[in-house]
Symmetry: C2
Amino acid sequence: MAEKTLKERIIDTALRLFEQYGYHGVTVDRIVTESNASKGGFYHNFKSKDELLYHIHDVFITYVLNKAQEAYKNYHKPTERLCAIVQSFVKVFHLYKPHITVFYQESTYLRPEYSQKINEKRDEFKQVIFQVIREGIEAGEFRPELSVEITGMSIIGMVNWTYKWYKPNGPMTIEQIAIHFIDFILHSVLTEEAKKKMENSAFFLAHKQMI
Amino acid sequence: MAEKTLKERIIDTALRLFEQYGYHGVTVDRIVTESNASKGGFYHNFKSKDELLYHIHDVFITYVLNKAQEAYKNYHKPTERLCAIVQSFVKVFHLYKPHITVFYQESTYLRPEYSQKINEKRDEFKQVIFQVIREGIEAGEFRPELSVEITGMSIIGMVNWTYKWYKPNGPMTIEQIAIHFIDFILHSVLTEEAKKKMENSAFFLAHKQMI
DNA sequence: GCAAACAAACCAACTAGTCGGTCTTTGCAT
DNA sequence: ATGCAAAGACCGACTAGTTGGTTTGTTTGC
């Protein structure tokens, strides 16, 4: 197996430290010490401490956005798309928890040139979700009285908040959590008609038996 | 009308600056300058910059906890309690938005002696919500297959996330947002039976007509 | 007279970033 | 293959600037 590069070691260490102590609670010296690197090595790989923070942000948001777009492409009915997006979104919290914590706690400290790039991708992600909800309403699968924005932000908020309480080795697996979220969301957004149809669909049954 | 005390002026300024630039993005000197105070005046009112941060946290969490407990006492059916708590919770975002932003972005930087006190109140708040959900399930108003913790955290997350997108002068009033949240939540947690009962209750009708 | 507040100089600690230098790998001409 | 020079990776002592907090003395208003 390949050795980890210095850059990877620095990122891993920084991620761990930022998650626990916050961006400003961790000095470059400490990152360097705990990753068995040096000041020179650090600045050889990163222009600045800011750039390291940006890098962490970018890895996460790029991944999430890709997953959402992928889920959108792989399914065609709004309900299925919504489920797939939420499911992949929730699963990210298992592998990327430190990234996410940093993403939501420290984004204030991103310099403008960096935060702009991040915000573009973040907005794109939001638009995918809004789009699915809009299509769901148009298709008659989702309740017409829903507000696209508030419903979208409710879903995003509910899922995002997971980073505050999810424990990778806790009593709930990430898959179980995802199923509960989807159950919660579907009960809210589906029309009565769509709910009845769902009960007979293979897609829904595959989920239900997992609870 | 009474003049604002120096302490209040400092807090207001700090709140505004912390919200925008983050705790570490604002120096004591800047707070002092922009609140037309002096360093002496600052340290006369606060032991340290940390204590100021704690104070901001405490004002907010104390208020929210009181409101939740009040709502719990004022109502007796689980469904009504849940609605009342969510409604008062959401409304807080209108008046306390800067507090909340600081609360969720900067809590990492609270010193242990402070964060412990804050966490106690925060946990107490969570327990009120969990309790209501538990009682709702027991009373047969809420779906028995719900997980108390995940449902509770879903609601808290959904509402808390509001601080990331709510604009006090935006197109949606806080009351409208609250109604959408409650609508979303009730569709998720209520049993079919409870939903039908609700449609005839004065409590529910008063809400419905506001959408 | 006394507490609240001001002014400003001062300090010690800390921290992001630099810079001259070393070691290792790579590429290329012989 | 071998020698060798250039490039790149990495080191760590050092610096320049910042920042929370202190001190000392003064002013204001109840």
